[in-house]
Amino acid sequence: MAKAKQNRAFITLYRLYVAAFFLFLAAPLVAAGSFAFNDSLFPALPWQGFTLDWFFSPNEPKLGMFYDRRLLSGLYYSFVIGILVSSLSVFVGTTNAFLFVRGSFPAKNFFYILMILPLVIPGVILGISILVLASNIANGVENAFNYEIDMLRPGIFLVVLGQFSFITTITSLVITARLRKFDHSMEEAALNLGASRLQVLRTVTLPFLRPAMIAAGIVGFLVSFENFNTTLFLVGSESPLTITMFDRMAKVGSTPVLNAVSFVLIIGSGLLALITVAVQRDKSSG
């Protein structure tokens, strides 16, 4: 009896701990999101009443985020970069999955470790190393041919390369895991039913991989969207949203418009995360 009682007390304590943890998890997000609706010029207490000005007001001083040129262009660049990075990295992730699941070649384990490596290199270092290489090439070409390669100067192209360099590891791992679960006899069955190799790939293998490819694409997009460390060194004049927000926070001082952006991003990434989970929990997992 005493033991059961002790056990119940333990479970209750345990539950309280878990609840406290989730409170800890949610608190900053709630704070960042909810001040967007405070009718005040500063994201701080006291509560001055509810407003949507920080989203939709076209006038200073409460310029809403949907009228703030700089923020909107940051959002736009983030989207462009995110879509480029996620499509590129899903493509290479898929070829990597086939390479490591189906291919047999010497030193395969070594190459597999190489594939994982970018994930454990600090993002700052990925950023500077790519910056150094690109600048060296650009300087070399400029000195030798007197021709300026704009692409290799900080800007969107370098940001895409920098993010791609480690996001590809993530997409490769996600898609590889799915391809490993693929029952090889399904391809043989399709072949046996008269399909050509290309038809097999198009009608059986790729549809099987599709949930993982979509999930990897979304994850890649989100990681790209929120990336700061790598981007910081490679960014040119076209700043993506995180950089724009950081500049505001560090230099201008924060107004609730940043809370409005935070709110939109929290909701947006939450929805995308939900979609990722939904597509991966599909009927064909068996």
Partner: protein, 369 residues
């Protein structure tokens, strides 16, 4: 061997090595039109490799495979009119039943209306007319089985290969599917080649069975031939239950021979045409439990001259309805199985009873050891 198209499938001297392992060793056989042919063997005997060569997923190192009289060695797997039901069925989970069945037809570019009527027709024939729009994961094990067959049969194959498709089913469903498969084969009147390690599946369904061991065919025959006239010791031991003694041939003439077992027991056997044994040779004797009569010792036993007999003690009675058996401890300590009728009355054998075992010498199957 003549190449006429009266055979749906011919394999001529087919061999296949995997590095140094000989998986399939000089296998030849022919399968007449419209029959149910099984390849039965323990796992790792090479039967799956043989089947994969017929389907085109492996290339034989030597020999020839002919379908309807034409060699298919240079035909890629997706052009052979041999369809296959895979061990785990390999139905496409991202397609529904209709799309699964229509898959092969779409690949050869059949028009939509024809596909639709063919799919409906084949669903009708496997008595599942209403499942076309279901998803694969909504089907029961038996239904999946039939869809996998329908997916192949809709393409009118010359030969249908089945690679242990019943393995994943539970016992009861497996029994039902055995009958179902046989009926489907009759209905489609297509040659089925069925691969299994389960002898009851092979014996129940097949017109002909090939027993495969270590890459070779040991014997091909009708199920009852394999059971009653096994050609080799392996077949005798693999097909059906049997008691087994090893020994040396003590004496032999044209008709009969006597084998002395290691424990000193003497068993008489009948010589078999084509594999007569002579004195001094090592030999193995197999006797099926259903031919051994077990009677309480002391009863008046009129033992004929063409019977083997020995005394023992009942170790235990294995009651299983009509298939009940006794385990008898023989004179040299070995356990012998014999079928008995257990009526539940006073006359039944019990543990500890002294018994006399006897069987006709014609039922002692003797092979060189």
């Amino acid at each position: 061997m003549s190449t006429t198209d009266e055979y749906d499938l011919e394999c001529i001297g087919v061999s296949k090595n995997f590095s140094s392992v000989r998986a399939v060793d000089d296998v030849s056989f022919t399968i007449p039109k419209g029959s149910f042919f099984s390849i039965l063997g323990p796992s790792g005997c090479g039967k799956t490799t043989l089947m994969r060569m017929i389907a085109g997923f492996e290339t034989p190192d030597s020999g020839d495979i002919r379908i309807k009289g034409n060699s298919v060695l240079n035909t890629p797997p997706n052009k052979r009119n041999v369809k296959m039901v895979f061990q785990h069925l390999a139905l496409f989970p991202m397609m529904n039943v209709y799309e699964n069945i229509a898959y092969g037809l779409k690949c050869i570019g059949t028009d939509k209306a024809t596909i639709e009527s063919k799919v409906r027709d084949v669903l009708e024939r496997i008595s599942l007319p209403d499942v076309a729009m279901r998803e694969i994961h909504q089907l029961s094990g038996g239904q999946k089985q039939r869809i996998a067959i329908a997916r192949c049969m809709v393409l009118n194959p010359d030969v249908l290969l089945l690679d242990e498709p019943l393995g994943a089913l539970d016992l009861k469903l497996r029994e039902a599917m055995k009958i179902e498969l046989k009926l489907l084969q009759h209905q489609f009147n297509t040659t089925f080649i069925y691969i299994t390690h389960d002898q009851s599946e092979a014996l129940v369904m097949s017109d002909h069975v090939a027993i495969m061991n270590e890459g070779r065919f040991e014997q091909i025959g009708r199920p009852e031939e394999l059971y009653h006239q096994p050609a080799t010791a392996f077949v005798a031991g693999f097909v059906g239950d049997s008691n087994r003694w090893s020994g040396v041939v003590a004496s032999a003439d044209a008709q009969t021979l006597e084998v002395t077992t290691q424990a000193g027991l003497t068993l008489r056997c009948v010589q078999q045409a084509g594999r007569a044994l002579s004195a001094g040779q090592a030999a193995e004797v197999f006797v099926r439990p259903e031919f051994i009569r077990a009677e309480r010792a002391g009863a008046d036993l009129a033992e004929q001259g063409d019977q083997n007999g020995l005394d023992g003690t009942v170790d235990s009675v294995l009651f299983n309805g009509a298939n009940s058996r006794v385990l008898v401890r023989g004179p040299s300590g070995e356990l012998i199985e014999a079928d008995v009728v257990v009526t539940g009355g006073q006359g039944d054998l019990r543990g500890g009873d002294k018994v006399r075992l006897s069987w006709p010498i014609a039922q002692s199957m003797c092979f060189a050891g």
